[in-house]
Structures are given as structure tokens and as C-alpha cells.
């Protein structure tokens, strides 16, 4: 072990006198950026890189996924649970195109990622060579940055740029396409690596302008009914402490966006729940009551605002945001503060007057009763068939609200957000912006790789599970325990709910004939069982959570359950429906 550390240090500190190939140079770049995990899949055009990787297996762990989409989602899960840049790799052509869904998911959910793709040799570019595809063209709209390397000498500088861009400002995915000849070629000079900390065209402001902060503070201090919407940005910039200080000093109620979940513990007295299309009642309707809306690290997604013109139209908006393009994009901000959430809150907090706003907070609590009666109590009534809500709540109680929860997309995603009591940050990993079905299984595995010390529980619908089911193989091969719960209603539940509510119950292609998930799991080497009766539920969840290895629990739930509250798409939040 000591020897290994020594060797690594030597590699990092001593200038490399040996001349490296492009592939080796790439590995050295990974080491300089402290990359310890890569999710990937080899193929023809990336073989020289994989050959170089063979000599670096002690320093860099490569996870062989079963489909490249799994690699990009696993890299996302890794990035989201660890806060580090997720790295994935694929070959040219179909390998590269399979990565695209995960890349698109990463850009909309601001996830730092570096994707490496192999490319045909540079003399074959543009000739329709075997497995050639214009990956730069394909991924340009979904990448924060992309670049094609055709010369091994470019590798160190471009990779330094790639990692900088992926994590700086608003994080996002960067794709680097490397031609096969550039991977094989020897560099013309010794390897040298210089980390990038700013570019002429990209140098996001982290510390905001003081006059912006002062204006924001003034609005907040003078507000009678201030209301904070906390988003993913607070988690990305690790501003949870500073955020809590603001909340407590100003005694301001907090609503969370879906991806802002777990930024503030559910136990905090100022936490009122999360808002959005299927969010909670009080946090939604109170956007129509507040006089100052303080948005921190969120971007007024249409699933949050409903009809944006009607959203919080009485309120003055204070918008903390690192990306200037988000300011005024959807909602005009009275006081925009452009900068990193943590830096901004550090400057803001000393200017905030200590207040007691218990009367205002009580208005939120008063509304909760209506939701409890109409939705929560019914969801948790433990009558009839098992409901998703009671499964999630039971897992929440048994993990003390401290697990890292990864969810797929659909009803179970919303139910998990509603009924899991998040007490630790970075605990709700979901595909929020893109709504990518099939996200959860590979992302849960990636999340476990990024935070091996945490219990990772994945809630997955029966439809979603079949989109990336092959990643069970990846999970089994690595052997890290991931706890998988399939909430099986035999339907594409969210689409069915919409068809029921808005399309006269014309159930168009939403019913599934499902395989025997448990046999499939066992075939991959993952133990599991199916639970159909309420009496078995508790023992089933215990078995899942107590398992030392990955475990697959299928819970058969109510087939035609609907998720409420619901703000119909494109309507005002005041039209929220409780049933």
C-alpha cells in the first residue's frame, strides 16, 4: 500500500521524462484530476485508450457497464453523490450515441461529467468509415463543451480545460472525442499538465457584486411574507450551512424544488415541503401569498411554476443564480444576485436582520391539514392493496431518513419525494429536468461508487426498470451493495394517470406484460424476492436493508393509484388539485 502511494506521488510530482502515447497521456490527465473511477465500455476506436488503462488499473478503477447509457447515468450518480466530476468512456459510433441520453440528462440537471469517446482515425474522418459518427455535431446541443482531439500533443491542455469546464460555474457535461491515431501516437514532447482555472471565454463569477447582495438583503429585510425556494444549486455549491443560517436568522419558510430536496433537513421547523406539479399543497399555493420570493440555485422550471405568467405574480423576486443566462429567463428578478450560492450567502447573511416570522410560518402549517386529509392520510391508510407511499415511508423510517435515495421517473419518483423524510444532504438523486426513464439503476450504482459509506436505496418503477435492466450485471460484477425496490403497478403509471384524468381513460399502450423480475435478478446473481401482501411488507424491507449484498425487492402495488396533489400542466398553481 505504502509503495503504491509512493509510486503515485512520484508520478504526480516528477515531470514525466518518458514520452507517452496519447492513451497514456489521457491516463496521466485522469490522475492529475484525481479521477479514481471510470464507467465505460470498450470498442474498436477506443482500444488504444483501453490498452493504456490496463497499466493504470491500480490507480483507476474501470467499471464495465452493460450498455453505454448505463455508463453516462452511472457517472451522473457518482457525481451527484460525491460532488466530483463523473467520468465515462465509450467507443465511436453507436458507443458514443448511446452516451447521449446521459449527457443530455447531465446538462439539464447541472451534473459535472467528462465523457471520452473514441473516434475513427483522422484520415478517415468524414468518409463514412466503420463506426464513424459525427459525435461532436450530435452532442453539441447537449454539452457544456465538446472538442475533437486529432493530435496527441493536445491531450493535456484539452483535458485540463475539459475538467475545469465540467465543474466550474454551473456544472455540466463535457465530451472529448479522440481519434484513434491520436490515441496511438507518441507525443512530440514530455507530458506536462497544467490545471486550468479560468478561460478567456469562460470565467464564471463566483463572488457576487456587493451592491446586488445589498439590494437582495434590503428586500428580504423589508419583506412581510418572504418565502425561500431552494434548488439544486445550494447542494452543488455545498452551501447547506450558510443556507440554514439565512433561514434561521430571517426565520423564513422554505419550499424546495425536486432537486433541492435534502438541502434542508425535513426536521427543520422552517421546512415546509417541496413544490411543483406533484409537490405539496402549502409550498405550492403559498407562492401566491408571499411578498418576496427568494429563489436560490433554482431556475423556475415549468414543472415548478405551472403557468409562469401567473406564478408568484404579486411577489418581488430575489434570484440567486450562478448562470447569468438564467436571470430573467422565466421570471423577472427584482434583485438578481449572480454568483455561487455559497459565496453569495456568506456575503448576505451578515446583512440579514434577525426576525421572528412565526405567524407567517403558521399560515403554511394551517394549509397542511387539507393535504393530510385529502392525500397523505389516504396514501398511508394501509387499506386495500399496498400503496407506493407506505413502502417509501417504511423504508424512510427504517433508514432513519439518512439513505441516499435514487429514483427513476414517474409516479414512484413523486411518491418517494413526498414520503421519504430526507435528513441528510445529497440524498435525493433523480433525473429532474430531462425525466429520463432508466436513470435509476445505473445512477444508483454510480451513487454507491461515489459514496460507498452510504446506504443507497433505489426506488424504480416496473417500466423504468426494464429500460436499463442489464445494469444488474454491472452491479453484480462489482459486488457493492445497492438496494433495489421495484414498485410494480404493471402500468406506465404516470402516463396512465394523465390518460385517466385528461384523456377520458383511454389507456393507450400503458399496460405492461412484465417478466419475472426476481428470476431475472437471480439470473444476474442478485438475490431478491417479491412481496404482494401487506403483512409481508415489513419483513421484506428488513430483509432488503439487512442484506450485505445487493438485493432486489419487488413490491406489487395498487395498479391504478394516482399521485396528488397535482397542478395540471401549464395551469396556475392556484388550480392545484387534491383529488
Amino acid at each position: 500500500m505504502n509503495e503504491a502511494v509512493e509510486i503515485m506521488e512520484e508520478k504526480i510530482t516528477k515531470p514525466e521524462s518518458r514520452i507517452l502515447t496519447g492513451g497514456q497521456a489521457l491516463m496521466e490527465c485522469f490522475l492529475r484530476e484525481s479521477v479514481d473511477t471510470i464507467f465505460g465500455y470498450p470498442g474498436g476506436a477506443i482500444m488504444p485508450i483501453y490498452d493504456a488503462l490496463y497499466d493504470y488499473k491500480d490507480e483507476i478503477e474501470h467499471i464495465l457497464v452493460r450498455h453505454e447509457q448505463g455508463a453516462s447515468h452511472a457517472a451522473e450518480g457518482y457525481a451527484r453523490s460525491s460532488g466530483r466530476v463523473g467520468v465515462c468512456m465509450a467507443t465511436s459510433g453507436p458507443g458514443a450515441t448511446n452516451l447521449v441520453t446521459g449527457i443530455a440528462d447531465a446538462i439539464i440537471d447541472c451534473t459535472p461529467m467528462v465523457a471520452i469517446t473514441g473516434q475513427v482515425a483522422s484520415n478517415l474522418l468524414g468518409t463514412d468509415a466503420f463506426q464513424e459518427t459525427d459525435v461532436i455535431g450530435i452532442t453539441a446541443p447537449v454539452c457544456k463543451w465538446n472538442y475533437q482531439i486529432v493530435d496527441a500533443d493536445e491531450i493535456p491542455a484539452i483535458m485540463a480545460k475539459a475538467f475545469y469546464i465540467a465543474r466550474a460555474g454551473k456544472p455540466g457535461p463535457v465530451l472529448i472525442d479522440i481519434t484513434k491515431d491520436a490515441q496511438i501516437a507518441l507525443m512530440s514532447k514530455p507530458f506536462e499538465y497544467k490545471k486550468v482555472e479560468g478561460l478567456p471565454g469562460y470565467h464564471p463569477r463566483t463572488v457576487p457584486k456587493m451592491e446586488q447582495v445589498e439590494k437582495a438583503a434590503e428586500l428580504i429585510n423589508n419583506a412581510k411574507k418572504p418565502y425561500i425556494l431552494v434548488g439544486h444549486g445550494v447542494l452543488i455549491s455545498e452551501a447547506m450551512e450558510e443556507f440554514r443560517e439565512l433561514v434561521e436568522k430571517g426565520d423564513i419558510p422554505v419550499g424546495s424544488t425536486l432537486l433541492g430536496l435534502s438541502a434542508l433537513s425535513i426536521e427543520h421547523p422552517n421546512y415546509m415541503g417541496w413544490l411543483g406539479m406533484h409537490g405539496m399543497y402549502a409550498p405550492n399555493v403559498m407562492t401566491d401569498e408571499c411578498d418576496v420570493l427568494i429563489a436560490i440555485g433554482m431556475r423556475f422550471d415549468d414543472r415548478v411554476t405551472g403557468d409562469a405568467n401567473l406564478f408568484a405574480k404579486q411577489a418581488k423576486i430575489v434570484h440567486f443564480e450562478i448562470d447569468p443566462a438564467e436571470i430573467d429567463k422565466i421570471k423577472k428578478a427584482e434583485a438578481p444576485v449572480v454568483g455561487d450560492a455559497r459565496e453569495a450567502l456568506k456575503l448576505l447573511n451578515p446583512l440579514i436582520e434577525k426576525k421572528n416570522r412565526s405567524a407567517w410560518k403558521k399560515e403554511f402549517r394551517d394549509l397542511e391539514a387539507a393535504e393530510h386529509e385529502a392525500v397523505t392520510d389516504r396514501d398511508l391508510a394501509r387499506q386495500g392493496k399496498i400503496k407506493m407511499a407506505e413502502v417509501v415511508r417504511m423504508v424512510s423510517d427504517k433508514t432513519n431518513g439518512e439513505a441516499c435515495v435514487v429514483v427513476d421517473v414517474g409516479q414512484h419518483q413523486m411518491v418517494t419525494a413526498r414520503y421519504y423524510d430526507f435528513k441528510k444532504p445529497h440524498s435525493y438523486i433523480a433525473s429532474g429536468g430531462l425525466g429520463t426513464m432508466g436513470f435509476a439503476l445505473p445512477a444508483a450504482f454510480g451513487a454507491k461508487m461515489g459514496a460507498p459509506e452510504r446506504e443507497v436505496v433505489a426506488f424504480i418503477g416496473d417500466g423504468c426498470f426494464q429500460m436499463t435492466i442489464q445494469e444488474l450485471g454491472t452491479i453484480a460484477q462489482k459486488g457493492l451493495p445497492v438496494k433495489i425496490i421495484i414498485l410494480n403497478n404493471n402500468f406506465l403509471g404516470m402516463v396512465r394517470q394523465w390518460q385517466q384524468m385528461f384523456f377520458d381513460k383511454r389507456y393507450s399502450f400503458v399496460e405492461l406484460q412484465n417478466p419475472d423480475f426476481i428470476t431475472i435478478g437471480k439470473g444476474f446473481g442478485i438475490d431478491g424476492h417479491k412481496c404482494e401482501e401487506r403483512e409481508e411488507l415489513e419483513a421484506s424491507i428488513d430483509k432488503l436493508l439487512n442484506s450485505k449484498e445487493s438485493y432486489l425487492l419487488e413490491v406489487v402495488v395498487e395498479r391504478e393509484e394516482n399521485v396528488f396533489p397535482m397542478v395540471p400542466a401549464g395551469r396556475s398553481v392556484s388550480e392545484i388539485r387534491l383529488k
Binding site: I136, G137, A140, P141, K144, W145, Q148, I165, G198, L199, P200, G201, Y202, H203, D323, P324, A325, D328, K329
Partner: protein, 178 residues
Amino acid sequence: MKTYTICVFTENSIGLLNKITIIFTRRRLNIDSLTVSETERKGVSRFTIVIKHEERDAVEKLVRQIRKVVEVLAVFGYLDEDVVFNEIAMFKIPTPLDSNTIDMETINRVHKAYLVYWGLDYMVLQKTGTEEEIFDFFKYIKPFGILEFIRSGRIAVGKTPQGLVEYLPEEKEWEYLV
């Protein structure tokens, strides 16, 4: 509908034109004209993009989206009154022996267009001016027959005391071409 001139300064790299134009595509904005060339600073390109739009707000958002492209160094959006702008056009006119006499004096003095090439049976006239001026001249010259007509995109300089390149980030030692 108002006409907007968007000036984009970028690093000169492969694929950048695509990265800029897809921002317009995604917002379903039609580009009226586009001119790209290297500036007096080596490695820095200047795009002049002309669009028509009804909402100033949407154009401002567009400008901010363009600014997000990593290789973009600066973006400026202008209304027509904020810029001095011109286009260049060339007209290929037939000149067989028995054709009407062309009134060179009117072409030169009234339309400020000039003869730039004289071939065996055609000539090429060049005219700079605004879109309107160019089409006025087009109408004038049309009766003589136009074999070929080409019009460039707009180029524009801002009515600011400094040149726009002065606003570019300073973090790099720029190498000047001239």
C-alpha cells in the same frame, strides 16, 4: 418586427459556427444574414448576425445564451440606430455588341456603384450600401439584364467611442495581425 444586429466575438475553432447557429435553431429564429471573419486579433473571429424579432426581451435572452458557449468571448446586440452597417453586392451584366448603352455616369454618381471587372461579353458592377440601396440599384440595373447577383451579409460597427474588440477579456496576450 425590428432588425437586430448581433456581434459575436469567438475563438477561431472548428465547429464553432455550428455551436452558434444551433442556438438560433432551437429557438426557431431565422437568420437573415451571417458574416464571419477574423478580426485584427489573431485567432479571434467576429460573427455579424442579423435577425428580425418582435420582442426585445427574447433577443436579450438569445444574446445571453450565445454568451454561454465556452469559446465565445463577447456578444453585443444592437438595434439599427446603434450601428453603422453596410453590405456589398455584385452584379454581372451582359454587354454584347448590340446592347443598350449603359449609363456609367448614373451608376457612378447616383448609385455609387463601380465597375470592377470587364469581361468579353459581360461586366461586373460592385455596389456597397444598405439592403435598401442595393435593391434600389437592382431595380435600376434590371432592365439591362442581370446574369448573376450576389449580396453579402451585413457588417456593422457599433456607435461606441471604442472598438468592440477593446471589450474582449484581457486574460490572454493577444497577437495583432496588423
